[in-house]
């Protein structure tokens, strides 16, 4: 978990720097400071379990097993990207590793994840579906629709609010009537917990409980993983809506440092070992960047591929010609 958080931290730092320098196309949203949510939850999952993410999903994809090379190449819009350059930063998908899809429509993936959960259930597997969403998604009506159906149908679904306290510039407590989305668990008759998500062990424990419940047929759970993003909403947002003191206080509670100190205190890791993991994570990301830079750009006319299944695409292209 320590290594994986560092890989996310480094990969996103690299992406952030490149995007700030104008070297990456499009919009880039990083999760720096929030890594414990992705890693704590995904560490409880199997390959066959499915994950649906958001516009801020590099961490979920890495934590679910996608390769740093394929993610970095996708961020650069190259052919070896996990989506071959069709998706970009907001859609890093790797179905082979159970990273089912990422939507950049806030709240748009919650139904999709419930559909995957229903598929798992109808197939009589004990696989689970995880939906990551931000606190902004709690403003969407479809969230409550899914909460209701997932409970009624006891779907194996983990609704994980990666709660960084701000939807874009708006502090969630200014627009939200309840204090924690885990408070909704009781009226919807499901299990829920509010978690200090800068402590990965808390995230991991809550996710284990939720996943175990889902696997044995006890239905969905909702986890309010309270954390903080160190950057603005996306590259280019200076975050003027919050104070330097607030940001600094959260940086003091870095989830990666927290786990390092925890491991060192128990002598499960020493300083030299930690430094080695740091270096390895950096090297992994450097390798991903050089791999991505050498990956070919897609030919422009490749834009015609992948819109439909092959037989329909053929008909469509004939109609368009």
């Amino acid at each position: 978990m320590y290594r994986k958080m560092l890989e996310i931290r480094n990969l996103e730092q690299s992406a952030y720097d490149m995007a700030s320098a104008g070297k990456l196309p499009g919009l880039v949203h990083v999760s720096t400071g929030q890594e414990a949510v992705a890693v704590g939850v995904c560490s409880t999952l199997r390959l066959e379990d499915t994950v649906v993410g958001t516009h801020r999903s590099h961490g979920y994809a890495l934590a679910k097993g996608a390769s740093p090379r394929s993610i970095m190449a996708e961020l650069m819009g190259r052919q070896d990207g996990c989506c071959k350059g069709y998706g970009g930063s907001m859609h890093v998908t790797d179905v082979a590793h159970g990273m089912l899809g990422c939507t950049a429509i806030v709240g748009g993936g919650i139904g999709m994840s419930a559909g995957a959960a229903l598929s798992h259930k109808l197939r009589r597997t004990d696989n689970v579906s995880v939906c990551f969403f931000g606190d902004g998604a709690l403003g969407q009506g479809s969230f409550y629709e899914i909460l209701n159906m997932a409970s009624k149908w006891t779907l194996p679904l983990l609704l994980v609010c990666d709660n960084n306290l701000y939807s874009m510039s708006t502090r969630s407590e200014k627009v939200q009537a309840f204090s924690s989305c885990s408070d909704l668990a009781s009226p919807y008759k499901i299990w829920g917990a509010k978690v200090d998500a800068n402590n990965i062990l808390e995230v991991y424990q809550a996710a284990c409980t939720a996943a175990d419940r889902a696997r044995r047929g006890d239905g969905p759970s909702i986890l309010d993983c309270v954390t903080y993003r160190w950057t603005g909403h996306g590259v280019g947002d200076p975050g003027i809506y919050r104070t330097a003191e607030e940001l600094e206080s959260w940086k003091m509670r870095d989830p990666i440092n927290h786990l390092r100190e925890y491991l060192i205190a128990r002598k499960w890791l020493n300083e030299a070992g930690a430094a080695r993991i740091d270096e390895e994570a950096k090297a992994l990301v450097a390798d991903a960047v050089s791999f991505a830079e050498s990956s070919p750009h897609p030919a422009p006319e490749q834009a015609w591929k992948h819109l439909y299944s092959e037989p329909i695409l053929k008909v469509y292209q004939e109609c368009e010609s």
Binding site: T50, V52, G81, C82, C83, K84, G85, Y86, G87, H91, T93, D94, V95, A96, L100, G101, T103, I105, G108, G109, I110, G111, M112, S113, A114, G115, A116, A117, L118, S119, H120, L122, R123, S129, G141, S142, E145, I146, N148, M149, K152, K305, H306, L307, Y308, S309, I312, V315, Y316, E318, C319, E320
Partner: protein, 331 residues
């Protein structure tokens, strides 16, 4: 030949596909027996296949369409029922941003075998929120297939294709034909009616009428009357708007040199504009007259029958449009 109503024909298509393929499921509001769907569209199916495969949902259209998207991505073939296309406004995000885009955005990693089964259509005083035709919205979205059956035969054939196909289909019926009977020829349907292949419903040399949904029936009746006046109209049913079989339309216009397009949706921004524009771009030199669109007036559907009839396009409107493009207005 067997005669079935439109509702029976489409239900038969779904039942046959459900028997053939256990991954086919129906989700939506009121779909389970004894009600069996708002228009009895699924009558008997939950009894035969169980409520795991024909699932009643709360009135959460956006939510259960999202569930359909997720099921389609993970190996099922959901038919998502939204009984009135007016309510499909609630599922537009799931269809436009998700169903239509996920295969593409993921570089082909997922399939999207999803059918959004809905119906539009006025004429029975259902008012402004239960009778619209909104096909043009969906036909604007690359990644979707838009199917518009005009008969029990095309209803059954297009639904079989919609279910078997690996892409999202917006399947738009018309309430006015639900209980009309018509012949259903299973041998001709076979595995399903292919998408992007128009049907020439009536051959003619003088004018091409491209008609959508129930306007096909009105166009055929108008063509019968016009024949007595010495005008032979060719009537084309595109059957799918996306993909659109432009080749068949162009070939017809090159023969007849005249075009009328008929649909029940309002004229402004309607799909007729797209057909006319495509013909003008490719066949300008073949046209002897300006094309004419027959469509609803640019108004919401009023409730009172007299006003509703005034707003909706009729068989007479098609006949008048044909006489206009054929230069027979004086007669």
């Amino acid at each position: 030949m067997r005669e079935l109503t439109y509702i029976e024909a489409v239900r038969e298509a779904i039942a046959e596909e459900m028997r053939r393929d256990p991954s086919v499921v129906v989700i939506g509001a009121d779909v389970e027996d004894p009600h069996g769907g708002t228009f009895k569209s699924y009558k008997g199916l939950s009894t035969e296949f169980g409520s795991d495969r024909v699932r009643n949902c709360p009135l959460s259209e956006a939510g259960f369409t999202g569930i359909g998207v997720g099921m389609a991505m993970t190996g099922f073939r959901p038919v998502v029922d939204v009984s009135f296309i007016d309510f499909a406004t609630l599922v537009t995000d799931q269809m436009v941003n998700h169903a239509a885009k996920l295969r593409y955005m993921t570089g082909g990693q997922v399939k999207m075998p999803l059918v959004l089964r809905t119906q539009g259509g006025g004429g029975v005083s259902t008012g402004a929120q239960h009778g619209q035709m909104l096909e043009a919205w969906y036909a604007h979205i690359p990644g979707l297939i838009v199917a518009m059956p005009s008969s029990p035969q095309s209803g059954k054939g297009l639904m079989k294709s919609a279910i078997r196909n690996d892409d999202p289909v917006v399947f738009i019926g018309h309430k006015g034909m639900h209980f009309q009977k018509g012949p259903v020829d299973d041998a001709e349907i076979g595995q399903g009616i292919p998408f992007g292949v128009a049907e020439i419903k009536r051959a003619g040399r003088d004018v091409t009428i491209v008609a959508l949904s129930t306007m096909v029936q009105k166009a055929l009746r108008a063509a019968g009357r016009l024949s007595a006046e010495g005008i032979e109209a060719e009537v084309i049913d595109p059957r799918t708007l996306l993909p659109l079989d432009k080749a068949t339309i162009f070939a017809s216009v090159r023969k007849t040199h005249r075009l009328v397009v008929a649909h029940e949706a309002v004229r402004h921004g309607g799909f007729g504009g797209e057909i006319v524009a495509s013909v003008v771009e490719k066949c300008m030199g073949d046209l002897k007259e300006s094309p004419v669109r027959v469509a609803a007036k640019n108004l919401p559907l009023p409730f009172a029958p007299e006003m509703e009839k005034f707003v909706l396009p009729s068989e007479d409107d098609i006949a008048c449009a044909v006489r206009l493009v054929c230069g027979r207005t004086g007669g």
